[in-house]
């Protein structure tokens, strides 16, 4: 049995949307078919649609429009194939804690932000997370007190037990 903790949280795959589209098309086909039967049996007024569609197609020649429609269908088919095989997006990053804890990129960035924001000398912080690293942009009054080292040390100490993501710190100094 696979360990549940190893199952990565993922968003619903695009194939689910395609399946829903196919299901809706089948339901629509059922509605059209019942209407055709109702019109044919005289239970409803109107004229059947299917023979009209076939009449419109009858006599069509292999013109440029056929080639354009063919090209569009091939393109749609390739896009559909890509969406059908595409895996669901990974929604949360794993952590190194003992608990089965997962964080979105935004959550990890917020925690990094909170760590750096408490450092003396920091004017503003912007933190962002990619799949492999945490980037922290710090605006500070001046770096004479070794702010960059302090920020790195704080991030290493606080985020270390949480994640193995690489942490990049970029400090911009502004005049006092």
């Amino acid at each position: 049995m696979k360990n549940v903790a190893r199952i990565v949280p993922r968003a619903r795959p695009a194939a689910a949307g395609l399946a829903a589209l196919v299901a809706v098309l089948w339901i629509a086909l059922a509605v059209v078919a019942v209407r055709e039967l109702a019109v044919d049996q005289g239970w409803a007024t109107g004229s059947p649609w299917l023979p009209a569609v076939l009449d419109a197609l009858d006599g069509r020649t292999a013109d440029v429009l056929a080639a354009v429609v063919g090209g569009v269908l091939v393109l749609l088919g390739l896009i559909t194939l890509y969406l059908a095989l595409k895996p669901g997006r990974v929604t949360h990053l794993s952590t190194t804690t003992e608990a089965d804890l997962w964080l979105t990129r935004g959550a990890l960035a917020a925690l990094a932000h909170a760590v750096v924001d408490r450092q003396p000398g920091v004017v503003s912080v912007h933190a962002e997370t990619t799949r492999r690293r945490v980037r922290v942009h710090v605006v500070a009054r001046d770096d004479r007190g070794g702010l960059e080292q302090r920020v790195r040390a704080a991030l290493g100490e606080r985020l270390g037990p949480l994640t193995r993501q690489r942490v990049d710190v970029d400090v911009t100094e502004v005049a006092r």
Binding site: A30, L73, L78, A99, W102
Partner: protein, 197 residues
Amino acid sequence: MTRTLTVLDRAAGIVLAVVLIATGLLALDWHFALVLDLPDTLRTGAVDDAVTSAWWPWVFAGVAVVLGLVGLRWLVAHLGRPGESRTRLATSNETGRLTVDLGSLASVAAERLEQTGTVTDVRGRTRTVRGRTLVELRGHVGTYADVDDLIEATGACVREVSEAFDAAQPSTPVTCRVLLSAPRSKRAGRADRVRVS
């Protein structure tokens, strides 16, 4: 979503893609006449005869209604299946049966985690994953949450659920997972402003 449903969805997508590509290639070949020797003009007479016959509306409606019902069932399957609502404990005996309401347990675990103050808007639910019951807690990191407090709080929550079930011996293994998103407030990270006059 179950694995079977995901496989079915992918298979349906692949079939749809193959149908679209094959139809498109046929239309292209009809115009460019590269492979098949297709007539220049489309004739729908034979199909038209079938469509206008007496049996056609009944067969068409019958097949389409079955497809429509299958489609409806397929759509409903995507709405999500809740996990086991109860689990039976091995300590049941001839004097009585012991079960645990997993939904209540998930709610209580979510409430306890939220009370730590490190996480907000926590919601608990149960899912069945690979034969195991998973108590899944989803919430948002508190705007000013301390990392150590967060690790301690989530660890304690997961441990409590695990220890409770280790002792109770449920019929299916129960584990707890915590999934956290960014702070909910749009003002996250901004400083509180205090005016002194």
